[in-house]
């Protein structure tokens, strides 16, 4: 007796075809949307590239117009990451390894609340509270650390400086970095951790030997995602920063660099004609920068994942 022969391809059911087709269409729609962002920003931004200086805030060409904002964007994001990264790793370690297990879930929730606060509320808090609180600190820095170019002063009397904006940004990116890193810390194989402890490692040695190497790529991607948020964050910077669009490394002064996003949102409601095109073109520049950052982050993650396997 021979087994029944299964000939040809299995029959495709209509329900399967429709469902998989719908799923694939949704996925492709996302690609279309992303391409649409680039295309529409280019279409509407293109006129700015040969716009007269009157539409570019008196600058000769678009590059000269957008460069100070690019500088400010990078500076603010850099300050934010310098502050946020060590804090975020500490917080993530507390939640994943240091806090008692019962407590760690609610601690994680408290940190998630930081991410839930809308950026406009951070702006409100930054301008109405944090900036004012920091004024004495800035005055102290100007007096005692004024020889460092970063703190040359004269110190702002409102506290609405690029450093304040960087601090607010740091608070906003901290929960993002924490959320990703703590997931990865928690995923570290328990056997490896227990093996380290069994060999007599202290808790910190266990973390350094078992947890951190395992989560290196995760940390990099988390920081990169934080960078993406810091680069594009708009309202908090627009409200906190008293911006004049200069290029300076003085972090506590009265004249501060502006960021692309903040400048756009401040200028857009009152702009018409070619000025709108110039703002959209600067948005395109921001899009390209964040795209590049994310691209780099993903490339690093992909490479290190390959290395782990």
């Amino acid at each position: 007796m021979s087994a029944p022969v299964m000939a040809g391809k299995p029959k495709q059911r209509r329900g399967d075809l429709v469902f998989s087709g719908a799923a694939k269409t949704a996925g492709l729609l996302i690609l279309v949307a992303l391409a649409g962002v680039a295309i529409f920003l280019t279409i509407e931004g293109a006129p700015a590239f040969n716009a007269p200086p009157s539409a570019l805030g008196g600058k000769a060409n678009f590059l000269a117009y957008v460069w100070p904002f690019v500088f400010g964007t990078l500076l603010a994001a850099f300050i934010a990451l310098v502050i946020a990264t060590p804090l975020a790793l500490g917080v993530a370690l507390v939640i994943s390894h240091y806090a008692p297990r019962r407590l760690s879930k609610s601690l994680g929730y408290v940190i998630d609340l930081l991410a839930a606060v809308p950026s406009v509320v951070y702006g409100l808090w930054g301008i109405g509270f944090l900036g004012l609180e920091l004024v004495p600190v800035y005055e102290w820095l100007e007096q005692h650390a004024g020889w460092i170019p970063f703190f040359a002063g004269p110190a702002s009397s409102t506290g609405r400086t690029i450093l304040t904006a960087g601090i607010v940004l740091a608070i906003m990116v901290l929960p993002i970095i924490t959320a990703i890193t703590r997931e990865i810390f928690a995923q570290t194989p328990t056997l490896q951790q227990e093996a380290a402890l069994a060999l007599g490692a202290t808790r910190w040695e266990m973390i350094r030997l078992a947890v951190l190497p395992y989560s290196r790529s995760g940390i990099v991607s988390a920081v990169m995602l934080g960078l993406g948020r810091a680069l594009g964050e708009t309202m908090a910077v627009a409200m906190v920063l008293s911006a004049s669009g200069v290029v300076t490394f003085n972090l506590i002064g009265t004249v501060n660099p502006s960021t692309i996003a903040a400048n756009t949102v401040l200028q857009f409601p009152e702009s018409t004609g070619l000025k709108v095109n110039a703002l959209i073109a600067s948005g395109l520049v921001l899009f390209v920068i964040t795209f590049a950052v994310n691209f780099a982050a993903r490339a690093i993650v992909a490479r290190s994942e390959k290395g782990l396997k």
Binding site: F19, A33, G36
Partner: protein, 349 residues
């Protein structure tokens, strides 16, 4: 033989209460210092933490060994980082409640700002605008997001299309909100001409921000569904699409709803795209396809930066609206978790 017997099997340890003793000593020493120099509470706290950070590892170095001292130092630093991260949250919530609570009243919640100069008026128009625009964004992005996640997990596999979509969704998570707003404006300006302001534009911009969050969280949740469940369903002759709808989705429903709610709570507070494409108005407008719509975040921004004369009323309304916005977002967050727990599959544990 006797040499071996003299190697101690334990090394000296600090007593369990050592951290508490050092805390007390550091607090007292710092209080003395603060009183003699005249610092406030902040100075006292900073000095106390510094003294603790130095003293405990130093004591440990003397009694225990270098490795234990390092461990104690790092433990302290990690907890200090956590405490520092909490300061802004506590301060922000305290400040918003303190400034915002006096503004809340029945009139504040039920009146718009139409023809209001100075005192009075409310945020009814802004709340409704926020709800309508966010709901429209949800209607656009939830089907796209969930279906994409299903494609990536169930159908795409390791195909080139699936990998491209995964990669670009990751990139999309990083799109700044302002760019989403500019995109919506650039899109609608082609059809409606310069200076266009529409509520639906805001919804389009928000869904651009919301879709990747929904995709990512749904994808994670679908991946968590054990493969055995799918295999069991296939073995019973159930088609793949019914397996997905009847087995995979219900199993991961809790996580998906939690992810969607968290995505909603993220976009409901977005300001920049709405400022650009939905604009600002003092009147109630519930029509997504006609004229400007006010939203809570935009209301907060304009009330604080252009408060009118005298500025105190506008700024009080800004803080009040900020408190309402935070309450909405927190409620959504709590809801997400409650739903997640309620619908969670019974694991028998």
């Amino acid at each position: 033989m006797s040499a071996v017997a003299h190697i101690p099997l334990t090394h000296p340890r600090l007593p369990r209460w050592a951290p508490w003793l050092v805390t007390a000593v550091a607090g007292a020493a710092s209080a003395l210092l603060a009183m003699s120099i005249g610092w406030g509470v902040t100075g006292w706290a900073v000095a106390a933490v510094l003294i603790y950070t130095v003293a405990l590892p130093a004591w440990s170095r003397v009694v225990e060994n270098r490795r234990a001292a390092k461990d104690r130092l790092l433990t302290t630093l990690v907890w200090v980082a956590f405490a520092i991260a909490l300061i802004p949250l506590v301060s922000l919530i305290w400040k918003v409640v303190e400034e915002g609570a006096p503004a809340l009243s029945a009139e504040f919640m039920t009146y718009s700002m139409r023809n209001v100069v100075g005192e009075g008026g409310g945020i009814y128009h802004a709340i409704m605008g926020t709800l309508v625009i966010t709901a429209a964004a949800a209607v656009i992005s939830i089907p796209i997001g969930v279906m994409t996640a299903i494609y990536l997990v169930e159908y795409g596999g390791r195909s080139k299309t699936a990998r491209t979509i995964t990669f670009l969704v990751d990139v999309m998570t990083g799109i700044p909100s302002i760019v989403a707003g500019l995109f919506a404006y650039a899109l609608f300006v082609l059809f409606f001409g310069e200076g266009i302001r529409l509520g639906i534009g805001g919804a389009v911009a928000l869904s651009l921000l919301m879709v990747p969050v929904v995709v990512r969280s749904c994808e994670e949740m679908l991946k968590l569904v054990p493969h055995d469940l799918r295999e069991a369903s296939y073995a019973l002759g159930v088609p793949k699409w019914r397996t997905i709808i009847k087995v995979v989705l219900p199993t991961s429903l809790a996580g998906i709803i939690t992810g969607i709610t968290l995505a909603l709570s993220r976009v409901i507070g977005e300001t920049a795209p709405l400022l650009i494409i939905a604009g600002s108005t003092d009147s109630l407008n519930l029509n997504l396809f006609n004229e400007r719509m006010q939203t809570l975040p935009v209301f907060i921004y304009y009330s604080y930066t252009q408060p009118g004369v005298p500025p105190s009323f506008g700024q009080e309304r800004a803080w009040g609206a900020a408190l309402v916005l935070i309450l909405i977002v927190m409620t959504l967050n709590l809801l997400a978790r409650a739903i997640g727990r309620y619908f969670a599959p019974k694991t028998g544990r």
